[in-house]
């Protein structure tokens, strides 16, 4: 049975700036798509293609903490350099995905990579926040630096395009990301008239974002930058590209626990949030210049 569509939401009217390096439209949480409804996903920001121009000043977001969840950065265009309080650093290039588990707490900062910043050019990224279940909120922070080469892909029928599997599985390919709860995250790149079909557990909260192009999904059309939220009924999804299109499909088993969030901390109770703030203030997350 086809997965039923709950609604298709157009791109928000205005972007917001995250630091001075990310010009994003926020899709989660927004309107009816609150954190319970789309659990385990907590936040989705999309920076559609934008050229900030050449700059000697490195644009980005300075030191900030995270605790209790994971941040997933998907680079489509442009490069981002990151540093954290555990001494890790790296660069996320187009096609790469950085899956950071903040767990019990980390400080990090992220900036446009130096060479990219100097030349400027199109920049396109998605940042997704994924909740951790209560039992895993205190795990030691760590990264999965998934390079474009690590991410397995399958060719679609009739030269319709490819699907890159970041997490979960489809078309016989399993994604490299290790997740704490069952999650599918597919980067689907369709040629004009290309078709992608898959089945996703009806229990999963499921949505897709049209990164570029124009598609028809389960017989409803979804324009560029629109967000499609599925109901928890039916399994089958068919995406047809009306032109060359890129689609990010996400699904996850809901985490049935209370969500209490304050800025960059996501816990289960108010008391845990107060404790997280104090832990951060006292330097338990480490130090980063």
């Amino acid at each position: 049975m086809n997965k039923l569509i709950e609604n298709i939401v157009a791109r928000p009217a205005q972007p917001g700036m995250v630091g001075d390096g990310f010009r994003v439209f926020n899709y989660i949480p927004r309107g009816g798509v609150n954190q319970r409804r789309i659990s385990p996903f907590l936040m989705l920001d999309f920076n559609p293609t934008f050229d900030f121009g050449p700059s000697d000043h490195l644009r980005g977001v300075d030191v900030h903490p995270h605790k209790g969840f994971e941040t997933v950065t998907i680079a489509y265009k442009g490069s981002v350099a990151h540093y954290d309080s555990s001494g890790n650093s790296g660069v996320i290039h187009p096609g790469d995905v950085q899956w950071m588990t903040a767990g019990r707490g980390i400080l990090h900062k992220e900036f446009h990579e130096e060479n990219f910043s100097k030349t400027g050019g199109p920049f396109e990224m998605v940042q997704l926040w994924v909740n951790l279940p209560k039992k895993d909120k205190e795990v030691a922070p760590h990264y999965q630096a998934l390079t474009a080469d690590d991410i397995g892909q399958a060719a679609l029928a009739n030269k319709g395009g490819i699907v890159r599997v970041i997490a979960g599985s489809t078309h016989g390919v399993s994604g490299p990301a290790k997740t704490y709860t069952p999650i599918n995250l597919f980067d689907i790149r369709l040629n004009p008239a290309g078709v992608f079909q898959t089945s996703i557990n009806a229990q999963h909260h499921t949505a897709l974002l049209v990164i570029s192009g124009n598609i028809t999904v389960n017989d409803q059309s979804a324009a560029e930058h629109s967000f499609v939220l599925f109901q928890n009924e039916g399994e089958d999804i068919t995406i047809k590209a009306n032109e060359e299109s890129i689609v990010l499909l996400l699904s996850g088993e809901p985490i049935e626990e209370p969500i209490v969030s304050y800025g960059p901390f996501v816990m289960n109770t108010e008391a845990e949030i107060r404790e997280a703030i104090m832990d951060f203030n006292l330097g338990k997350f480490g130090y980063l210049e």
Binding site: P65, S85, R104, G105, A140, Y262, G263, P264, R274, I277, M278, F280, N281, L282, G283, K284, F285, G286, Y287, E289
Partner: protein, 194 residues
């Protein structure tokens, strides 16, 4: 207004009925981030009670350096007694660090409240003593405490401000340089990090 009403009913003896009688004395105002709410040398007849957002009282020295006297996040009062009670010019600036909603509290409101609810006088005195106590602690901190002690006191008083304002602004409240604050935070991380 609801935030202020909840605050009063939780902390003071004002009843719902009394609040309705006093309501006419109160005015809600919103300030976009960056608004100069009070300018040094200006005058004011009100206290501000912050329902949401963040106000800050500060002065500028001859070199143009900022010195922060007080932050007023949600449920805090802020005002310049010099201007309100002594009809002299305000001795500091107040600006909005975030989009802020306040309730303006006039002397008239405080007097009316004491007439309608005699127990409110005790509450108002307690507020005043609390304010003086806080000032005494702050003077002592600025004269005698180490940078780390000042920071540890700050995070008890304003736990979430470290997530809302810059290091420079925190340093300007603590009376230390931003470099000194960085050293304090680094030392704490060395002691406490997982």
């Amino acid at each position: 207004m609801q935030v202020f009403k909840d605050y009063l009913q939780q902390h003071s003896p004002i009843t719902e009925e009394q609040f309705q009688l006093l309501r006419k004395e109160l005015k809600v105002k919103t300030y976009p981030k960056g608004t100069m709410v009070l300018r040094e040398g200006g005058t004011t007849q009100v206290f501000w009670f912050v329902c949401s957002g963040l106000l800050r009282a500060y002065t500028l020295d001859n070199q143009g350096k900022e010195h922060t006297l007080q932050f007023a996040p949600e449920n805090w009062w802020i005002g310049d007694r010099n201007s309100i009670y002594f009809h002299e010019s305000a001795v500091f600036n107040i600006d909005a660090l975030e989009d802020t909603e306040v309730v303006l509290i006039t002397k008239n409101f405080l007097e009316e409240a004491q007439t309608i609810c005699p127990d409110f006088r005790k509450y108002n005195e307690l507020l005043l003593h609390n304010n003086i106590r806080h000032m005494q602690c702050r003077i002592n901190q600025l004269l005698a405490a180490t940078a780390e002690e000042r920071y540890l006191d700050f995070i008890q008083l304003y736990p979430n401000l470290t997530l809302r304002i810059s290091q420079i602004m925190i340093a300007s409240y603590l009376g230390i340089t931003p470099e000194s604050l960085s050293r304090v935070r680094k030392a704490l991380a060395k002691k406490h990090s997982y």
